[in-house]
Subunit: 110 residues, 2 copies
């Protein structure tokens, strides 16, 4: 058993957003995401069948919610995104890496 | 929907270790833990029926594993602790807060 550091081993080429599986089973999926100016596609929304808890560990991002407008997240900010809450990533800091942790989990109502 | 910052709203009185539920359902439980010199009881081990993924977001800690010895965790270090992996928190920094995030989740084998 050996710890891994969430801020290290970041690919130098971030032309594409980087998503890495940390652990998963049939109930949850924990991912590290590294963005650098990446956003969701300009049109459409994420509409997920699972709940998602997300935290920005480094950097900054703005998530747009269809029904709640824009929410800016800085280092340490976390929120729960219930299933089928339509949202998109509107902005991430283009100057430095934004490191996210996302926990996708099956909701009670699914 | 409003984000909460994991590094803020830390109780000034940390005589006891502080554990706070962030979100849960029947499959997972996400907790914030704030330690300041706190450790597990001197005798015995944690022997959990659920898997646990843990990350130190700030501060420093040492987890002792019955079969793997001591593992030191600093800011950003994370690891998965499978169910029934006997362990204890041997040390946390007594000088400043250590902020942990723990995701307890039901394993496939449970």
């Amino acid at each position: 058993m050996k710890p891994v550091n969430i801020f290290k081993s970041i690919p130098s080429d971030l032309e594409e957003e980087f998503t890495e599986l940390i652990t998963q089973n049939e109930n949850i999926r924990i991912e590290r995401i590294v963005s650098k100016g990446h956003t969701s596609p300009a049109s459409g929304w994420y509409d997920q069948k699972e709940d998602e808890w997300v935290i920005v560990l480094k950097g900054a991002a703005i998530i747009s919610f269809e029904n709640d407008g824009d929410i800016k997240l800085g280092a340490g900010d976390h929120m729960n995104i219930p299933a089928h809450t339509r949202h998109k990533v509107k902005w991430t800091d283009p100057e430095s890496e934004t490191v996210w942790l996302a926990v996708h989990y099956q909701g009670i109502t699914d």
